[in-house]
Amino acid sequence: MAEFFRSLLAAGFGGQGVLTLGQLVAYTAMYEGRHVTWIPSYGPEMRGGTANCSVMVSDEEIASPVVSRADYVVIMNQPSLAKFEPTVKPGGILLYNEDLVSYRNPRTDITVVAVPANALAMELGSEKVANVVVLGALVEAGDIVGADACLATIKDKLGKKKAQMMEMNITAFEKGREIVRKGISR
C-alpha cells in the first residue's frame, strides 16, 4: 500500500463551493507532487440541489477513484450529514458547517470539528468564502495537503479576477485554520 493515501469527501448544496473546495485540495496535492483524482457527483440541475465530490491523494498511482470510505468528510448542509456521516473511516475527521448543520450525538470513533463557516464568512464580507473557511479548517486538522501549498493554490486559482476577493479568501483560509488550532488547544 502507498505510504501516503488520503481520501476526502465534501458535500453540500450546489453553490456552496464544495466542488471548488475539492478542486483546491486536488490542485494543491498535484503541486506537491502527488497523484490525485477528483470526482464530482453530477445531476441534471445547474444550481441548487445537492453536490458532492471525492478527492483521492496518494504517492502512488490511484486505482479506484471512487471514495466509499473517507479519511476526511466535509459537511456543508443538513441533508449531507445524514448521507455521509457513516462514510468517515474510524479515526477520521468530520468537519461540518455548524451554521447550517446541527449534529446531535456525534460519532465517538472519529474527530468532529464544528466550523462556524457562514458566520465567519459573513464577518469577512461574503458568504461565498464559507467553503474556504472550511478548507482552512480541513488543512489544519488533517494532513491531506500542506497549508502553505494550499494557500498558494488559493492565490493562484481564486485571486485572478478580483483582488478584493483574493484578500477575503486568504483571510477566510486563515480563520478556518485558527478555529481548529483554538479548538484543539481548548
Binding site: 500500500m1 486536488a26 490525485v36 477528483w38 470526482i39 490511484i62 486505482a63 477513484p65 471512487v66 466509499s68
Partner: protein
C-alpha cells in the same frame, strides 16, 4: 517533455484531440460529455480549426461523414442516446471507409436512462452499432492519462485503417479530474489523403467518390470482403490489454475503463491478505483480447467479470475462456459502480476464502 496538468476528463480528451491534429469538430450537446464540445468551441478557433454545433446528432455524424471525406482530422463526441442516433451515419462512414474519431462518454440506459456513468453500450460499440457488417476500432481507457494517449493514437489508427475509431469512456471518466501529460506519440507511417480525399481532383487528375452504395451483389460482396480483411488486420495488429498480477492468480478479474480501476483496488486489498487475485484489462474492446483468456495460467480456477452493465463484455470473456473454468459476473447499473467492497465480497464468495 510537457508538464502534468490537472484537467477534467472531457477537457483532457478534447485537448488530446487538438494535440493530435484534430481541427474540425461537429457535435450536439448531451450530458455527461458537454465539456468536450464546449472546450472545442473555445480551442479550435485558436488553432485555425472549425467548431460547428449541429442541429442534432443525426446532422452531426453526417457532418463528420462530409468532413472525413476531405481527409482532415475530424471528431465528434456524444453519449449513449446520441450515439444511437448517430449509428446510421457511423455505418455509412465505415461503409465508405472514412477516418474519424468518435467519443462515447457512456451514460445509463436503456432509453433516456440517466446521465450517470455506465458501461452498457459495450455491445453497441464492439459490434458496430448500426446496420451492416462493420466494426469500429474501439479503445477503452481506464485513466485520464490513458484516455489522452489513446485519443492521440485513435487519430493515427483511423487514418491507418480508414475506419472510424471510438473512444469508449464513461461518465466518471468524463467528469473526473486527474493530472495528465500530453506526450507526442511516435509518428506512424500513414496513407496520403491526397491520394483519395475530396478536394484534390486538380492535383490527382481523378475525382473522389465517397459512397457506401453498391447495388451489384457481387460488387457489394467484394466490398464487404475487403472490409472484413481490414478487420482481420486490426485483429492481428491492434489488440491491446494489460495483465495485472495474473501469473500465480487463482481468480482472474476482467474489467475495463473506470471499473477496472475499482477492481484493481480490490485486487490490491486482497493480495495484502494473501489471496491470489489478478486481472486482465482489455484496452481495445474491438479487437477484443481473446488470447489472454484462452491462455490463462494453469493456476486460474475462476474468472470474474466486473462491469457497469447487466453483463455485456462477459460474452467476449466467455468466448475467450471457453469451458475451461467458470466465468462469474459482478455488475451494477443505474449510474452505480460496483464498489471495492462488493467486488471483494464476490471474490471471497467464489473462492470460498
Amino acid at each position: 517533455m510537457s508538464e502534468r496538468v490537472l484537467m477534467k476528463g472531457n477537457e483532457a480528451l478534447a485537448e488530446a484531440a487538438v494535440r493530435a491534429g484534430c481541427r474540425y469538430f461537429f457535435g450536439y450537446p448531451i450530458t455527461p460529455q458537454n465539456e468536450i464540445p464546449e472546450y472545442m468551441s473555445r480551442r479550435l478557433p485558436e488553432v485555425g480549426g472549425v467548431y460547428l454545433q449541429a442541429e442534432s446528432e443525426v446532422a452531426a455524424i453526417n457532418m463528420i461523414f462530409g468532413g472525413a471525406g476531405t481527409g482532415e482530422r475530424v471528431m465528434t463526441s456524444s453519449s449513449s442516446p446520441g450515439i444511437s442516433l448517430m449509428s446510421e451515419g457511423i455505418s455509412y462512414i465505415a461503409g465508405a471507409e472514412l477516418p474519424c474519431v468518435l467519443m462515447n462518454i457512456v451514460r445509463g440506459g436503456p432509453g433516456l436512462g440517466s446521465i450517470l456513468p455506465a458501461q452498457s453500450d459495450y455491445f453497441q460499440a464492439t459490434r458496430g452499432g448500426g446496420h451492416g457488417d462493420y466494426r469500429l476500432l474501439v479503445l477503452a481507457p481506464s485513466t485520464l492519462q490513458e484516455g489522452v494517449d489513446l485519443t492521440m493514437l485513435a487519430f493515427d489508427l483511423a487514418e491507418k485503417y480508414k475506419n472510424p475509431v471510438m473512444i469508449l469512456g464513461d461518465g466518471f471518466m468524463g467528469q473526473m479530474m486527474e493530472a495528465v501529460e500530453f506526450r507526442t506519440p511516435e509518428p506512424m507511417d500513414l496513407p496520403d489523403k491526397r491520394d483519395w480525399a475530396v478536394g484534390y481532383m486538380e492535383r490527382r487528375g481523378t475525382r473522389a467518390l465517397v459512397k457506401s452504395l453498391y447495388l451489384d451483389p457481387e460488387e457489394l460482396e467484394r466490398h464487404n470482403m475487403k472490409l472484413q480483411a481490414k478487420y482481420r488486420e486490426m485483429e492481428k495488429n491492434e489488440v491491446r490489454y494489460e495483465s495485472y498480477r495474473t501469473d500465480d492468480a487463482e481468480i482472474v478479474l476482467a474489467a475495463y475503463g473506470t471499473t477496472a480501476r475499482i477492481a484493481r483496488s480490490a485486487i490490491n486489498e486482497l493480495r495484502r491478505e494473501g489471496l491470489r487475485v489478478g486481472m486482465i484489462r482489455p484496452i481495445s474492446v474491438y479487437p477484443f483480447p481473446y488470447a489472454p483468456f484462452e491462455n490463462l495460467p494453469g493456476s486460474v480456477k475462476n474468472v470474474l467479470v466486473v462491469e457497469m452493465s447487466c453483463g455485456q463484455m462477459i460474452d467476449d470473456v466467455r468466448i475467450g475462456v471457453g469451458r475451461t473454468v467458470p466465468v462469474h459476473f459482478c455488475g451494477r447499473v443505474g449510474g452505480i459502480a460496483p464498489s471495492v467492497d462488493e467486488i471483494e465480497a464476490r471474490i471471497r464468495e467464489i473462492t470460498g476464502k
